[in-house]
Amino acid sequence: MADFQTSTHRAKWIFTPQQLVDKYRTTNQRAKQMLEKCGTTKMEVDADGSVTYPEPQATENSDKHSRPKSLSCEEEEFMRVYYEFKLREVCGAFYFPHKIQATALTYFKRFYLQWSVMEHDPKHIMLTCIYSACKIEENHVSAEELGKGISQDHQMILNYEMIVLQSLEFDLIVYAPYRPVEGFIHDIEDSSHAAEDQIQMFKDSATAEVDKIMLTNAPLLFTPGQLALAALRNANEVLGVVDFESYLQNILLRQSSEHTVPELINILDSIDSWVKKYKFPTERDMKHINRKLKSCWGHGSHDDKKREKKSKHKSHRSSHDSRNAPAPA
């Protein structure tokens, strides 16, 4: 495994809070404009992994009120939060190790920096992220097996694989905070007189804290080591294994870091605030969002039939011909 310091993770996938806001706004706006122009936001992904974009509707065929409304940035966030939780459930059902789950979660988060949930169904993306994470972490599970386990069409996973890899820009090695947690605990163990079972409790509790952190945006904002320290600090508050502040001082000293303890504490505080801010959508929220999303995707209209036909005769000529046909109302 390569080194975090020179990694693509560090160089390309750690952002400022403002950058995240901007990215989410950009994809949201893009989907919104597409909805206005094309009447749908959904991209089709074909069996060959290529993406098909909706085309502008030829005429103003409906009045403003019956037009589907796009999701807000907040609603999009709810969707992501919901499916990240689902992702963890699926990984749990397959008894995948923590690392796979963390990798899949990271892929999912990164994917939706590039796309709106209105453009690609998060359910499909979630499964494809799990599938890809298994491949990368050398824990190969066939798409068929994965699909079967949760009664989903596995072809869809294969269709989405390429677009997911592409959206991740093939930066596939990701660093989760679980290993740093273990490392810090080994380190603390060496210098503390804590009993073995206390250390084990410390570890379990810190791992649970990391689990919480991984469901927030913090992994896109902080390094795995910082996330691990935030988790350890919270675990330590309950268990009191070490004097945490002097431990932080100790680490900074040993690596002659430019950071000061107050700076580091500041970072840990903001990680905590992400965990505190975490909000899981209610059933009612999800019902509302899903209804909106369905209308964004134009389900239940002629579109479905049309798409079916299209995928059967997927040639440039046919799509060229049909471009001149009147758009369905």
Partner: protein, 492 residues
């Protein structure tokens, strides 16, 4: 209604994906015009390259030589394009391709092959990896000396090749990457140009480099060779370390000296992973039998236990290595070689230690251009370039060209790559010696990812990826300290 975006997107290089995708949004009709239709034979991304021909073939796919079209003024840069077929079992993108991409995306080193682009061909869901092209490899260089020149590779070249190989390997190992498949054909050497004579470690456990298409595969042990396999692997060790790569380097070092593979065992092929008795016998014959004294964990290895009568049947007591490689047992190169061929992987020399060995401190010092000796009077050898099969297209299908055309195609290649260019160029680089690179300053972020390994912030003994790209070969190395972090001792 939907329209297709270009069938082939290419990544990296630019602000890449998002802008690429945004660009293709909403104006799908334009894209279709250029992407499909009449010239659908040539994928869009391919149009940035001129295909020269096929240079290699392996189980995972094919390797092509191409030249970039831009900038139009220059000759174009040579690129090796490795095509990965979709995984056979219908399970999506080839895991081996993914493995190679994900590793190479994370690493940058002057002695490791550089991945410059990844292309996706949606037609057959295959991936094309574009690398900087290296004209030579150790297999061809050794063969040239053995079969054409009949004289050994000069000392400077051997030492420089070995040093660079260790330099790249030290980088990989300090990044926790074990190559596992080092052999002369996987170790490329740059041809004429800015990086002339620089080693590039290639093929991360993946496709094999060039196989002369006219030769039957069975003639050529190099494809499935076990000659470079470490004894702990041959004896069935379940776990192994970066020491397996060092064994291979030892074998390669000996081969550079003698032009012959050191341990040329016959491969057993009965079962998928058979016990390679003959290979072990070849090793024991030269190095003497391993003993529990020298290699305490030896007795725990599965094959050592289960196959006592065969393995321990012959008793080779003496170590004949020095006479095989024609080195004095007291010489520095012999000392280094025997430390690489240490039986006990735990005692075997590491890449970092090897770089610090006496051998590299003696004259001639290793240089950046391994192919051009330091001494002004010394003869420069024009190594043959990789044979190119100009008779294929990117799908790997052979085009129906008359044979004459193939001949002229090859002749053209020889003209372009062979003796015409790069005549003897005496270079004075006596002072030029590459230094092991120092550690980067260690900070919180550095620790973050590896915290699990090393929470205390102890130096982790890695030569940091400081690709010192020399703008010109003749320039001396910058003094240590200029632009480099303070030198720190690596872990020994």
């Amino acid at each position: 209604m939907p329209s297709s975006d270009p069938k082939l997107l290419w990544l990296f290089g630019s602000a890449a994906l998002v802008s690429q995708l945004l660009k293709t949004m909403g104006d799908g009709s334009n894209n279709r015009g250029s992407g499909g239709g009449g010239n659908s034979e040539k994928p869009e991304w391919l149009q940035q390259y001129n295909l020269i021909g096929k240079i290699g073939e392996g189980t995972y796919g094919l390797v092509f030589l191409a030249k970039t079209k831009s900038p139009p003024s220059s000759r174009g840069k040579s690129i090796a394009i490795k095509k990965f077929k979709q995984s056979k079992d219908g399970d999506g993108v080839s895991p081996t391709a993914i493995r190679e991409i994900m590793l190479l995306r994370e690493i940058t080193h002057e002695n490791v092959v550089k991945l410059v682009n990844v292309h996706i061909n949606h037609n057959d869901m295959s991936l094309y990896l574009a690398f900087d092209y290296a004209e030579h490899d150790l297999y061809e260089i050794i063969r040239h000396h053995r079969e054409k020149l009949n004289h050994p590779i000069n000392q400077y070249t051997v030492k420089s090749l070995l040093w660079q190989l260790l330099n790249g390997l030290n980088y990989l190992h300090s990044n926790w990457i074990v190559h596992r498949d080092l052999k002369p054909s996987n170790i490329l050497v740059m041809g004429d140009g800015e990086e002339h004579g620089a080693i590039k470690i290639a093929d991360f456990g993946l496709a094999r480099i060039y196989q002369a298409p006219l030769k039957p595969l069975s003639d050529n042990g190099v494809v499935v060779t076990i000659w470079y396999r470490a004894p702990e692997l041959l004896l069935g060790a379940k776990h192994y370390t970066s020491a397996v790569d060092m064994w291979a380097v030892g074998c390669i070092f000996a081969e550079l000296l003698t032009l012959k593979p050191l341990f040329q065992g016959a491969e057993a092929k009965s079962t998928p992973n058979p016990f390679q008795l003959d290979q072990l016998d070849k090793i024991f014959k030269i190095l003497g039998h391993p003993t529990q004294e020298k290699w305490p964990t030896l007795v725990n290895l599965p094959h050592w236990q289960s196959d006592i009568q065969h393995i321990q049947g012959h008793k080779y007591e003496t170590n004949a290595l020095h006479s095989v490689v024609h080195l004095s047992p007291k010489s520095a190169p012999f000392d280094l070689l025997s430390k690489m061929l240490e039986y006990d992987p735990r005692k075997r020399i590491t890449a970092a230690q090897a770089l610090d060995h006496e051998y590299f401190k003696m004259e001639p010092s290793p240089g950046r251009n391994a192919l051009v000796p330091v001494q002004p009077g010394e003869k420069v050898i024009n190594y043959p370039t990789r044979p190119v099969d100009t008779n294929t297209d990117f799908e790997g299908t052979t085009s129906l060209q008359p044979p004459q055309q193939m001949v002229s195609g090859n002749a053209m290649m020889a003209g372009a790559h062979g003796m015409g260019r790069g005549g003897p160029r005496p270079m004075h680089m006596g002072m030029q010696r590459m230094q092991p690179q120092g550690m980067a300053a260690y900070n919180l972020q550095a620790q973050a990812g590896m915290g699990g390994m090393n929470p205390g912030g102890m130096p982790m003994g890695r030569g940091v990826a400081q690709a010192h790209q020399q703008p010109h070969l003749r320039r001396k190395d910058p003094p240590m300290g200029a632009g480099y972090p303070p030198q720190q001792k690596s872990r020994r």
